[in-house]
């Protein structure tokens, strides 16, 4: 198993932390992982992206040309990365942030209304965990248990009471992805 993933969106959407939690979940399940962020000025309010690779074997490059999975959370990211999905690969986009949906027919395209769902939860910060839940429903490369263990490790102790909310968000994401 090897999944080369890019998650892309606006700075502040929780793109980097979503990738980090996915990478941690991989670590918890004894997989090889790399996490390579865009760390440039775009991180401050522009577009941000992170490449995460989860694999059973040693990973050569943390930077790749094409991806098994592309998750886009805004229009510029869709335009930049739609062409980078491997044929037969998976593209997930957030519904309300995309005006012109993807057009490729040689890949699997799924959408998720994560912003609406987060608002219904009265927790806009749960947005990225809803997206992650949707992704893991389609590609269960790590278990929800692994993700929760990852959260336990990454979140400072004072935020551990938020883990159940994150679990709800992951479950919800799995239910609402189209």
């Amino acid at each position: 198993m090897k999944e080369e993933i890019i998650i892309a969106g606006f700075g502040g959407q929780g793109v980097l932390s979503m990738g980090k939690i996915l990478a941690y979940a991989g670590l918890m399940e004894d997989k090889e992982v790399t996490w390579m962020p865009s760390y440039g000025p775009e991180q401050r309010g522009g577009t941000a992206n992170v490449t995460v690779i989860v694999s059973d074997e040693r990973i050569s490059s943390p930077i790749v040309s094409t991806f098994d999975i592309v998750v886009v959370l805004n229009q510029p990211s869709l335009e930049k990365f739609e062409s980078k999905v491997k044929p037969g690969g998976l593209l997930i986009y957030e519904e309300s942030t995309i005006i012109n949906p993807p057009t490729r027919t040689d890949i699997k395209v799924h959408s998720i209304a994560a912003i609406d769902a987060a608002n219904e939860m009265h927790n806009s910060k749960a947005f990225n965990m809803i997206v992650l839940g949707g992704l893991l429903k389609l590609k269960p490369m790590v278990s929800t248990e692994g993700v929760l263990k990852g959260l336990f490790k990454t979140l400072p102790e004072r935020h551990h009471h938020l883990i159940p909310v994150n679990e709800q968000a992951i479950t919800l994401g799995g239910q609402i992805i189209k």
Binding site: A23, V33, W35, M36, P37, Y39, G40, S60, P62, S65
Partner: protein, 360 residues
């Protein structure tokens, strides 16, 4: 006491954790992207409360390197880190430390230049590091980490070599290995050396003169040219020993290779992916990854020059290490360079294209 453990963290964070666990006595630095996490992590962990390690944000890079100079003079394990523009500021101090034959570790997490340039990854300080940087006939033992694991390991190895040869060691990393997160094994906590152990290990150090020994003078100054020449000759003898004993490299897929990529740091990782892709197309490519940039793995490249059709030096610069590859190959086969500049990191397919363009 921290035990050996498997963790996921950035390369920069790994350096900070490793520094504490390898029993480093002092870190002196000044923040700069993309290596600020080193100082940030150290101040977050506050090792002065546990191991007694000193962590100090100096008023400038020049101050930081001179604090390292002073600390190293007392036989302590001291280090600094910065990124390219900050490393340029440290060059005078580095030359003095090399001239005074003191051990220390300097980390450069390279970003695009020249000047203030960009904060994105680069490897354009190769010349600065292995060909000079500061003034005078000195050499820096230069380690090039290609993974987060090596960012931690080379703190240990760096100090080992620095003390073995009483020579400054440079860890020449790049923004990719600094910023990426990977799984790594952190070593168990080592005790810092006691003052008595430092005196025993470093009889040359200025640790406080006792009645029965002559003063230890730490200086790079010697106004008598004949004595200065002798000093230089002894430096060169030391460098020759290092060149013979300390070359390190990794060789991958070279057994059946018709072409060889030479790449270090992040570019070695990206080149590995390019090699996997090229081999799917039937192009037999191997990789030589210099782990020490000085001393450079000249011999292994020279050996392969009799077996392969050509070499591609892949670097995040306009062609620096390629000169050392050409010296090793000495005209026997074609040596080409591929690089991106100013903070752009190529995708693996660009490297495959460069291979095809030059050799197929």
């Amino acid at each position: 006491m921290a035990k050996e453990e498997v963790v996921l963290m950035k390369g920069n964070e790994a350096i900070a954790h490793a520094a504490i666990r390898y029993g480093v006595d002092g870190y002196f630095g000044y923040p700069i992207t993309p290596q600020s996490e080193v100082l940030e992590t150290l101040t977050e962990i506050q090792p002065w409360n546990t191991t007694g390690m000193v962590v100090l944000q100096a008023e400038s890079e020049v101050a930081a390197i001179n604090m390292v100079y002073g600390g190293a003079g007392t036989g302590k394990k001291v280090m600094t880190s910065s990124s390219s523009p900050g490393i340029s500021l440290k060059q005078e101090g580095i030359s003095y430390i090399a001239g005074a034959e003191l051990p220390c570790l300097i980390v450069n997490v390279m970003r695009g230049g020249p000047g203030l340039g960009t904060i994105q990854p680069s490897q354009a300080d190769y010349f600065q590091t292995v060909k000079g940087g500061g003034h005078g006939d000195y050499r820096l033992i230069t380690l090039a980490p290609a993974s987060v694991q090596e960012m931690a390991d080379f703190v240990g190895l760096g100090f080992e070599l620095a003390f073995k040869y009483r020579n400054p060691v440079m860890m020449l990393a790049d923004g990719v290995v600094g910023q990426m997160m990977e799984k790594l094994v952190l070593p168990a906590q080592q005790e810092r050396l006691t003052d008595e152990e430092v005196v025993a290990r470093c009889p040359w150090a200025s640790t406080g003169k006792t009645k029965d020994r002559k003063p230890n003078i730490i200086t790079s100054l010697e106004l008598q040219p004949n004595i200065m020449e002798q000093k230089n000759i002894s430096f060169q003898e030391k460098y020759k020993i290092i060149e013979q004993a300390e070359v390190r490299y990794e060789e991958l897929f070279c057994e059946d290779a018709e072409l060889i990529i030479v790449a270090f740091g992040a570019m070695a990782r990206i080149s590995q992916k390019a090699i996997e892709m090229a081999r799917e197309e039937g192009i037999k490519v191997g990789l030589i990854r210099p782990i020490t940039l000085w001393p450079f793995p000249t011999q292994i490249i020279s050996d392969y020059a009799n077996k392969v059709k050509g070499f591609l030096s892949v670097e995040l610069n306009a062609g620096q290490m390629v000169e050392d590859v050409r010296l090793a190959v000495n005209g026997r086969v074609k040596v080409e360079h591929f690089g991106r500049l100013g903070g752009i990191v190529p995708d693996p397919d660009e490297i495959v294209e460069a291979l095809k363009e030059h050799f197929i």
